[in-house]
Symmetry: C2
Subunit: 260 residues, 2 copies
């Protein structure tokens, strides 16, 4: 099972302050990491921040020790420092390496050999087939330090997809088993059967427009498996996307079976 | 039934940026407002921001049109502008008054008479007994504009209590029917019976220390009705207070009976 979260590129339309914009993206990153979301999709909804949201989400997801290699200093990252660390398993601290340990790294060529920066004080020689760039590695020898490409064995982070397409098109591209839209006008979560099996898409609207309104604006239609109100009897006039995200994922996590 | 949320005065210890500190308090305010929390208690846990947290929570809870009367300009309010509006029923927009309408106001003496600023273009004469200061009023006549003191008929906001006492002492003072602590080491919420009747206290730790650790630090003990892990199988090493708050209230709201 994997969760796919869909957020609009207009996520930040109500924030004017660039520091707060960065912090808000950090909240999305944190919410998705806390509950083990595997994919974040940014769909077209008239906003201008798609690229910025993607950049900051990816920056947040990257282990601290790899950020300098992967992200050139750009004005967009000026306030990235306010993003709280995700502290997910892939964000390993610097510690003496252990055989069998899995670490996120960055592969680069040096002469005829491939080495990986895995956040330790020396590079690791890569055995086996690997590509340059970011990858996941398992330590097979400490002295000398050697790694092989590997698959993570626990939650490792999320992938970010900037679809540049409208919501219905983005959902089709994602090819999911179940798609749930969140809406104040949806079915009360307290009386709904929520299907959380397979690849599950969870769709959020923007601060100013709900999911259904956004679809209409692009003359689109989509047959959701469920349109769900996850915050029944809300006392505020509106709920912000990042608030709805955390609340909804908390409830879905509560509904989810152990270890799923 | 009423919900009481308990947060430590060390809530902001991990934020250095004053703008982010203000925003974080705003997140607490928003979470409490969304789910209709009636009381926020700030307990002593070694932090220095108790007064600041109280001020900003109260600022957020005050209707925009009364803020200038109630809050003198102080350096602590410098970044209050980043706090998102709560948009709760007491935060009424300026609109032609209607008889029977309830509005939050500020009573002041002028000569022998008491008037209330209820956020309209003219003051309202108060009939009946009222005290100077903030209060809730019902419009009984539009021309001339007259009000009487009244009780709100829907969720109206929260009260903030800066206890200056440790957690166990603060809890005793609050005199609750049920007290639930949140802790990563608590009972999995998926297998717990959560009592949500009467005056319910919901206790949160600080970014660096859990509820139990904070009690120990002051050589205190408290018999909670339940110690609950509301984010089972969390994928991040820690969950921040404001994140735990929103997630926990979302789940409790989900568990709560309709209209309760």
């Amino acid at each position: 099972m994997a969760w796919h979260v869909f957020i609009p590129d207009s996520l930040l339309e109500e924030a004017n302050d660039p520091k707060i914009k960065a912090y808000k993206v950090g909240q999305v990153a944190r919410a998705c990491a806390i509950f083990g979301v595997e994919h974040i999709w940014i769909y077209k909804a008239g906003g201008k921040d798609g690229k910025f949201i993607k950049l900051l989400l990816e920056y947040a997801e990257t282990p601290q020790y790899l950020r300098k290699r992967i992200f050139p200093i750009t004005p967009e990252l000026k306030y990235a420092g306010v993003i709280p660390p995700l502290q997910i398993p892939s964000h390993k601290p610097k510690a003496p390496p252990r055989i069998g340990e899995i670490r996120e790294g960055y592969a680069y060529r040096k002469g005829k050999k491939l080495f990986a920066d895995i956040g330790l004080d020396r590079p690791a020689l890569i055995k086996g087939v690997a590509r340059e760039g970011r990858g996941t590695f398992k330590i097979i020898s400490v002295n000398p330090l050697r790694v092989i490409p590997a698959e993570p064995s626990e939650y490792w982070g999320y992938k970010v997809h900037l679809s540049r397409k409208t919501l219905a098109k983005t959902l089709k591209k994602a090819n999911l088993d179940v798609v749930i839209a969140t809406s104040r006008k949806g079915v009360d979560v307290r009386s709904a059967e929520v299907p959380l099996e397979g690849e599950v898409g969870i769709v959020f609207g923007s601060p100013k427009k709900g999911v259904i309104e956004i679809l209409k604006e692009y003359n689109e239609d989509y047959e959701f498996d469920l349109i769900l109100n996850t915050i029944p009897e809300q006392k505020t006039k509106t709920v912000r996307t990042e608030e709805a995200l955390l609340a909804t994922l908390a409830i879905f996590n509560f509904m989810r079976k152990r270890g799923d």
